[in-house]
């Protein structure tokens, strides 16, 4: 079965959801293809969780068209639920059962579950397999959450802020795990506060503010950042000089030649600057005067 023949994993148009007179989701459109990893970024209260929970079948919508794996989540049956995996923001519901007991128990819910021991090894909990969930550290518990979310081999996985509270090593291990899911063809919708995470994992990034999508694209050129002019900066005569350019390579070559002519192999303090994903993101969500935005402004001159 070719991927192009199947419907998109997620298709959302004109999604609306309000609480009282607050519009949590206000005309949001979203499409996720099979096998894609899409990261949803946005400040707290932007409507990310509301949107994701509508897609997961937890909440009703006020208006809009929603299809998840070809089915309206409000009418999702057991078979539909067996095809999606959900990792919610962390709860504290896993108490006295051990890691193995929990994974084995949840595996029983699904028609084609993963091998329990292999899965526990894949999330790095083999040494904790006989430990009760309440005695796990925060990061270990999160990996258990993920194990329970993927035990049924979901076609579509929702990850809601999966690495909050992880140390850097745990975060990198987690990313490797997500990439192995990608290699199996799992479609993933990820919400995160970590731009580094989105940049590392996502094929496509969506920025949501005030309940709608304000920008989307690959993490490399979100907001057209690769097409922004670059800023070349160097030191000369103890003064920092810079030049805004569309062709930084040529500028660097010119500098190299000029300094070489003066008998110097190195251009002191040489930098080529483009706006980072964080710069673009902060500008998109309107965080004025935030640390990185000056770089964009400089580059845009």
């Amino acid at each position: 079965m070719s991927t192009s023949a199947s419907p998109p994993a997620i298709a959302v148009t004109g999604l609306h959801k309000h609480y009282g007179d607050k519009h949590a989701v206000d005309g949001l459109d979203l499409q996720v293809e099979r096998g894609e990893i899409v990261a949803v970024l946005g400040p707290n209260g932007a409507g990310k969780t509301t949107t994701v929970e509508i897609l997961e079948g937890y909440r009703h919508r006020d208006a809009g068209h929603v299809q998840v794996l070809g089915i309206d989540p409000e009418h999702g049956d057991r078979m539909w639920r067996s095809r999606i995996g959900i990792v919610l923001q962390s709860g504290d519901d896993l108490d006295s059962a051990t890691v193995t007991e929990l994974v084995r128990h949840f595996a029983a819910y699904y028609p084609r579950h993963r091998d329990v021991d292999e899965l526990i090894a894949a999330v790095g909990l083999s040494e904790k397999a006989r430990t009760r969930a309440r005695h796990l550290s925060g990061g270990q518990r999160r990996r258990l959450d993920v194990a329970l979310g993927i035990v049924g081999r979901p076609e579509l996985l929702f990850l809601d802020e999966p690495t909050t509270g992880f140390d850097p090593q745990a975060r990198h291990d987690f990313w490797d795990l997500v990439e192995s899911l990608r290699d199996e063809g799992t479609t993933i919708l990820l919400t995160t506060h970590y731009l580094e995470e989105a940049e590392r994992l996502a094929d496509r990034v969506l920025v949501v503010t005030d309940g709608s999508v304000v920008a989307q694209g690959s993490p490399h050129d979100l907001g057209g950042r690769t097409s922004h002019r670059a800023l070349v900066r160097w030191r000369e005569d103890d003064v920092v000089r810079e030049r805004s350019t569309d062709s930084p390579t040529r500028v660097v070559a010119e500098l190299t030649a000029r300094f070489a002519a003066a008998g110097r192999d190195e251009v002191p303090g040489l930098q080529v600057l483009r706006p980072s994903l964080e710069d673009v993101y902060l500008q998109l969500i309107g965080a004025e005067q935030a640390a990185g935005t000056t770089t964009i402004e400089e580059v845009r001159r």
Partner: protein
């Protein structure tokens, strides 16, 4: 490393395109849930001690404080301990069914456990089967312990006819089922997991006092008897008295009869009310969760 720009279209997608695998059956998953619930229950040591020891401790206190006997007239009498045992069985069943589930499910909802389950293909019916199974097993163990201790330590006599054991059976099963179903329904009342026991415990206490658990039922004010007759505990206790007391003791029943028909009717009515209310009001998510 960094992600590629284009959407992935791996062959892995084909993994799922085969014939649809069958979902595990509701009953089978209910069985899984019973095992899982029991394991969790027996690991919560404090709750285990409370649920199993409370009826026995209360029985011990009552048998010690009221060590005499009740005169039934015509030279016959029964021990106080014999009179109170049926009430203790009934109250124990209410604890392990109604109170245990009303508080336990409220806490599961609060901690996000129910929300997690809602995101899996586990059928709601299997979840409830798990709860009912857990309650049946714990109530059975609790009642058996109480009977054994009462017979050995407090010289209470156990039923001597098959008919009385049969009555014990149906009152126990119907009462447990009713308590469990009402507990599920009531679990939606507390606003949070923390407030659950503060909301549930007073109700249980009041019912115990007015239903003939701690006092001789016919000595309560008539209006209190009428109030108690609305709720299941009074009928459970009365049904249990019909099992453990001689028919001479009917002089202490306000109606002069064991009223098995009315007992079955009231318990069944609460079973249906609890079932309907439970199905209509059950929430998988916290009240403040959107």
């Amino acid at each position: 490393m960094s992600a590629t720009g284009a959407p992935m279209t791996t062959a892995g997608g084909a993994t799922w395109s085969g014939t649809a695998a069958r979902l595990p059956g509701t009953l089978r998953l209910g069985g899984h849930r019973v095992g899982y619930e029991l394991r969790r229950f027996f690991r919560a040591r404090d709750a285990v001690v409370f649920i199993f020891a409370y009826p026995i401790i209360m029985m011990g206190i009552f048998a010690t404080v009221f060590s005499g006997s009740i005169d039934l007239g015509q030279g016959r009498s029964i021990e106080f301990s014999q009179y109170f045992l049926p009430g203790m069985i009934a109250t124990g069943v209410m604890l392990s069914s109604f109170q245990n589930l009303a508080i336990g499910i409220a806490e599961e909802r609060d901690s996000g456990g129910l929300k997690r389950l809602r995101g899996t293909p586990l059928p709601a019916a299997s979840y409830f089967l798990g709860k009912v199974g857990q309650v049946l097993v714990t109530s059975l163990v609790q009642t058996a312990l109480l009977l054994v201790v009462s017979a050995l330590a407090f010289r209470v006599s156990l039923p001597d006819t098959a008919g009385r054991w049969f009555t014990l059976g149906w009152v126990f099963v119907l009462g447990t089922a009713t308590g469990a179903v009402c507990g599920v329904a009531f679990s939606s009342v507390p606003r949070s997991g923390q407030s659950a026991s503060a909301v549930v415990t007073p109700i249980v206490l009041v019912l115990q006092f007015i239903s003939g658990v701690f006092f001789q039922f016919d000595q309560l004010p008539t209006w209190m008897q009428h109030v108690a007759a609305v709720f299941p505990l009074k009928w459970m206790a009365q049904g249990m008295r019909s099992v453990f007391l001689p028919d001479d003791a009917l002089v202490m029943e306000p109606s002069g009869s064991w009223q098995h028909g009315a007992t079955a009717a009231v318990l069944a009515a609460w079973l249906v009310v609890g079932l309907v209310a439970g199905v209509r009001t059950f929430r998988w998510r916290r009240r403040d969760d959107g």
